[in-house]
Symmetry: C2
Subunit: 335 residues, 2 copies
């Protein structure tokens, strides 16, 4: 109940979810970030939040301006061996393949149906985009929401063999709840699909659908004889990555963040944008250093470039989280 009442006073509540149980623990413990090891990074986060939320502090930030933006893939949950949304797209292609016998011998579909990731990657940006477009369109938004909900409830990660939502970072979830409990309005700003994330993110993270920003397909309104629907078209409308992130933040939020968290070059412009806030601001960069519990990848990754972001984070003194050293638990499912 603490979660419910708290949420009602922070944001739209997400009831009866893992995250719901989560925040009860977070807020009842004296330590808001129990999965974070003591050290300069944990200290920096807590000192920042106390500084900007304490009445009378020289750095006090009014509630309306307490905007926090979090990348999703690699920041709130894992992104290896590929973006989880790609596995959704592949599973969707497989379920659609019954109506497309021609896909057996046609790339990029052939690679998907044969589970050949190397062949799929060889199809390049164009091939991957075709898979994503075909798997994310041709249905109404309500139908797509159901398809994603069913997938997230049943699909298993290819190597860890657990539900994808078990691969959410417990320390980051604690951070989201800690910020919400201190009247920050927390947004997801991800290169991932808007409709894909909204199907499960609210329940898992406790972040309302209207505070989840992502890439989107074009859609159209269909009056549908008095039963109106929104149809998803197979055309990319907006890519919420790199320069697109500050652009989307301006469009969906209308305020510059004071707190931003990311883990790749795709997040760099969002972090730069937050770093230019006239209010005291906080930039957090998740560095994947744990080859045992998660994955270790530094400056290069097939998940996308990481070098510029990591370099600038180090140069500018942003908080670079060393997953191996800073986190005593990695996953939401860790006991």
């Amino acid at each position: 109940m603490l979660f419910i009442s708290l949420s009602a006073c922070k944001q739209e509540p997400a009831k009866d979810t893992e995250s719901g149980k989560e925040i009860t623990q977070v807020n009842e413990s004296s330590d808001p970030l129990p999965s974070w090891n003591d050290g300069p990074n944990k200290e920096a986060i807590i000192n920042y939040v106390k500084d900007v939320t304490t009445d009378g502090s020289a750095n006090f930030i009014p509630i309306a301006d307490r905007i926090a933006t979090f990348d999703n893939d690699g920041t709130l949950w894992s992104e290896q061996p590929a973006y989880f949304q790609l596995f959704f797209a592949m599973d969707r292609i497989k379920s659609l393949s019954a109506d497309h016998p021609e896909w057996k011998n046609k790339q990029p579909y052939k690679a998907v149906l044969e589970n050949d990731m190397n062949a799929l990657m060889q199809q390049g940006e164009k091939g991957l985009m075709e898979i994503v477009m075909v798997s994310h369109s041709g249905v109404t938004t309500d139908e797509f929401d159901t398809i994603v909900k069913d997938w997230i409830a049943t699909a298993k990660h290819p190597t860890k063999n657990v539900p994808y939502t078990d691969l959410i970072f417990k320390p980051m979830l604690e951070l989201v709840k800690y910020l919400q409990a201190n009247d920050f309005k927390v947004f997801i700003v991800s290169g991932g699909g808007l409709s894909f994330m909204r199907a499960w993110a609210e329940g898992v993270y406790g972040i309302p659908k209207n505070q989840t920003v992502g890439s989107s397909n074009k859609t159209e309104f269909d009056y549908n004889n008095g039963n109106p629907v929104i149809r998803i078209l197979p055309q990319l409308e907006f890519m919420d990555d790199k320069e697109g992130k500050p652009v989307a933040i301006n469009k969906f939020i209308g305020r510059k963040p004071v707190f931003a968290a990311g883990n790749s070059d795709g997040d760099l412009q969002m972090l730069q944008y937050a770093a230019s806030n006239s209010y005291k601001n906080f930039e957090l960069y998740v560095h994947h250093t744990d080859s045992i519990r998660e994955w270790a990848y530094d400056r290069e990754s097939h998940i996308g470039k990481l070098d510029k972001g990591l370099d600038e984070a180090s140069q500018k003194g942003w908080t670079v989280v060393n997953m191996k050293e800073d986190w005593n638990k990695v996953y939401n499912s860790d006991k």
Copy 2:
């Protein structure tokens, strides 16, 4: 303080504003809608809100699904003798004209500089769009915000000779606050400009910037040597009108409204979309019938078509507000 504490428990608070004082009255009075005359329309609103927010009611709606969407022009404030944003655009053209001597003899600018509304209307959609684009671009989002704030604080309505924010409908503001006080998340969904509205709507209506949806220009991120800005380009990105409204609602909100209010054919698809909600829903259509206190216009108006919306509202039994009969006060400034 009631407003502050209430808002902290509903939505991002807008402090020290007219609306701030407003809600204190609303919530301290036993009548949440004092500017509404007793009658079937006021009764329908209050009965609906009580029905869907009472625990155990067969029509109870969970807080997360209590989404209300309001059109702005003609629904939350007046729109005569032209959309107020057009007057902003004209004033902006005048202030820019010093650097454009050629505008004196070039339409549509000539009509604006000569305050010739008839000549301006004769320039048609294309001419009006040129005025809007030139007056709403070429600056950063921060610069534009300041320009609009200065204008809304100083500009006067051409015939009523009062600030435009004095022409906000007091009964509708009471309705917004009443819904917010009952855990509805209230959004503006307007054909008006996103950045234009966000510069003042939050303070006036108590509706957060990230819950204000509107038409938008394309923008671009400029790193600007370490001082990042978002630049507004002279290209229309999205027109939030007619079929665009449900499309924008899906994109910005991610949920179908249970309560929708409008006043023209531009709002019809939004009302149809809300009317298709499986939750008990409420559609409100503002009919401009008061030629003395506001303006009276029925099925035809240079402000835009009104016939389809009004007909469908009547056919489907939506709540058609008769401004002259239903409202004992019209404007926020009425004593």
